[in-house]
Symmetry: C2
Subunit: 400 residues, 2 copies
């Protein structure tokens, strides 16, 4: 098998950890696999560099930040290659540039344009292993750029896609994706498999494990992912195409997003174009609107509700005052969004109904509802958030 | 003026030091100069990386060491560019690759093959300053390589040469080149000017300030150098072509080299080719022979003496036993080499004589003598080394 392994910051956070990781890689190599490794900076290093830069400027140039930040992954890749070579496994370290990762010029949050797979393939053909510095690439004109949050995952997925790898293993310090946050519901179970789309909807469960953009890219390139811990030998969670999942449970997980605030505009003129005006303004001002609901109102007026991230609420207030499109504005920060996610919903009715019944039984009022083919999201009062998660986890029997 | 400034590790060893350096650069820029800066890694960083690598291998691959070590200078260059930009001076950081520094493939001790000056010139034309990561370059095929000890000086001199800069300022933590080591002779004076050739002969005085290879390159490219301290505003020492030196003192300085051992071969057959055989063998075994003297002996035999670095004495013993070219071998580690250096010697006779007289007056026996156009070197007993330096410093009136 050709396997791309990605190790995050905590997995390579010390000399001892790098040695452990080297042993894990060596084991897989001895089992006959061809291996490409993608590494993050040692944990803490990137923050240290960001802090150093902040001593010189509150608005450091993004181009220079990229030169600065890309050094952390270079160090890890060189050290790991040195360790593996010393263990008798010929290994070549590569920077993002040397690994053929070509990005656009958006410094500190670049996108991968394409990957020239020849340099890595050349080393693999010689029987060598390759350790690539994640998080970074180079533009067509030679500028170093980093890929932003979750960038090393993105490097790994993109490389796996370009090489047509059999598997992309994402190693972190958690075991995989759970049916819900185990800190809220101790009975939460680790999932064996999950579809790309479910994973995207469960972002709040997996955000620390895997960023949305990496899952999207994996889906696009059809890269089979598994997220596992580098601290034990437990099996992880596979993230696959829906059609490759053996057993399709009705519901895969319950997500909770505590970073939402609800905005209600009352007395909006019910005329064509008014909603477009509101959301165009918010988009221009950089606000990420999530759920949107509109109720029919009385006498040519309507009520419009939507949610935004809590830290974008001030911007939202200003934006709404600027366009003055409603008679009154209401904001509620004390809400959470609870979501029930599962591909099984597509073929089974009644899933949403169970969710509403469950919350009603607990006496929890649902303030907003939004549904997709594989998800039911409900905005409720913040104080009932954890209760709702546990009740729903129970209702869908996710603990067995 | 177009000035290339190079700052060593202690000069950029902390946030505060980098800020001081930024102020110094800004001052020169405000005076109307175009400036290219070359920086080393923050002091201690390179050693830290070397030590990290040693945790994984006692024989780390040189290619990966270069990836590892080149990261330190990247960090400094980015930080300094961020600082200068924040002060209102548009500044671009460049890696060795981006600055067009092309090296051969000798990892960890590469040579600069050539410099493509276009990238730096392009930025200078826009009025920007450029901060280049020293110590590193890239091969024609994209491999990162470092330049070995004194590599950042070499980067600076090579860039100054390629840009035809008016001056290359080497900033360290010492004020310049002194007539002798001030720890031995407190009356030592800082030199205003010195020729490239004298500087090369005075290597032992300037080694910590400037490596031989950088002086050689400066001479070859006719780069006007000045070494100064970044910790004060004292004038430094200019290193120039001999013809550009205003006042040519008879003697510029007294150097002492404590790292020499004397080897004497007695009873060497006095036949053609025997000396060649001895020194070919030593060269093959990697021994750096310095002074060589041969005395005419008696009855077809001769005595041969030479000096080698102390830490190469064991190799030398083995080499001499291998070829068995003499009747007896003598080794003396308790010697030093004291040298009187000055371009004025070329046109004035009697300089060597003064040296011999001075040592004789002090009762110091001279064991070996070697002279060049601008230098008289004498090997004497180690215990008289410092006395000899002070006496010679006095004899040539170097304290005024």
């Amino acid at each position: 098998m050709l396997i791309v392994q990605k190790y995050g910051g905590t997995s390579v956070g010390s000399v001892e950890r790098i040695k452990e990781v080297a042993k894990r890689i060596a084991k897989s190599k001895k089992e006959g696999n061809d291996i490409v490794v993608v590494v993050s900076a040692m944990s803490g290093e990137t923050n240290k560099l960001v802090e150093l830069a902040s001593k010189f400027s509150q608005t450091p140039k993004r181009r220079e930040m990229d030169l600065l930040l890309s050094s952390g992954e270079r160090v890890t890749s060189a050290l790991l290659a040195i360790a593996l070579t010393d263990m008798g496994f010929e290994t070549v370290a590569m920077t993002g540039r040397q690994a053929g990762i070509v990005t656009n010029g958006m410094h500190t949050k670049a996108r991968i344009e394409y990957i020239d797979k020849k340099p890595i393939e050349k080393e693999l053909k010689k029987g060598n292993m390759v350790v690539v510095a994640g998080f970074q690439g180079i533009t067509e004109v030679g500028e170093v750029s980093t890929l932003g949050r979750g960038g090393s995952d993105l490097s790994a997925v993109a490389i796996a896609g370009s090489l047509n790898a059999d598997l992309c293993e994402i190693y972190t310090d958690v075991d995989g994706i759970y049916t819900t946050d185990p800190r809220i519901e101790p009975k939460a179970k680790k999932l064996k498999e999950i579809s790309y789309d479910e994973m995207l909807e469960l972002a709040s469960l997996g955000a620390k494990v895997l960023q949305t953009r990496s899952v999207e890219l994996a889906k696009k390139l059809n890269v089979k992912l598994v997220t596992r811990s580098s601290f034990n030998d437990n099996e992880g969670t596979y993230i696959l195409r829906e059609e490759d999942i053996m057993e399709k449970p009705l519901v895969s997980g319950i997500a909770i997003d505590k970073n939402q605030a609800r905005v209600t505009l009352r007395g909006v003129s019910d005329k064509p174009g008014i909603a477009a005006e509101i959301f165009r303004k918010l988009a221009e001002d950089g606000v990420n609107v999530d759920m949107i609901i509109q109720n029919v109102g009385l006498e040519g007026e309507t009520n419009l509700g939507f949610t935004v991230p809590k830290d974008e609420l001030d911007t939202t207030k200003q934006s709404m005052e600027d366009i003055n499109a409603s008679q009154s504005l209401e904001f509620d920060q004390e809400v959470v969004k609870v979501s029930v996610v599962g591909v099984g919903m597509k073929s089974h009715s009644g899933v949403a109904c169970t969710a509403f019944d469950t919350l009603a039984d607990e006496g929890i009022n649902i303030e907003m509802i939004s549904t997709s083919e594989i998800k039911v999201s409900m905005v409720i009062s913040e104080k009932y958030g954890e209760l709702a998660v546990r009740a729903l986890h129970d209702a869908y029997k996710l603990d067995n």
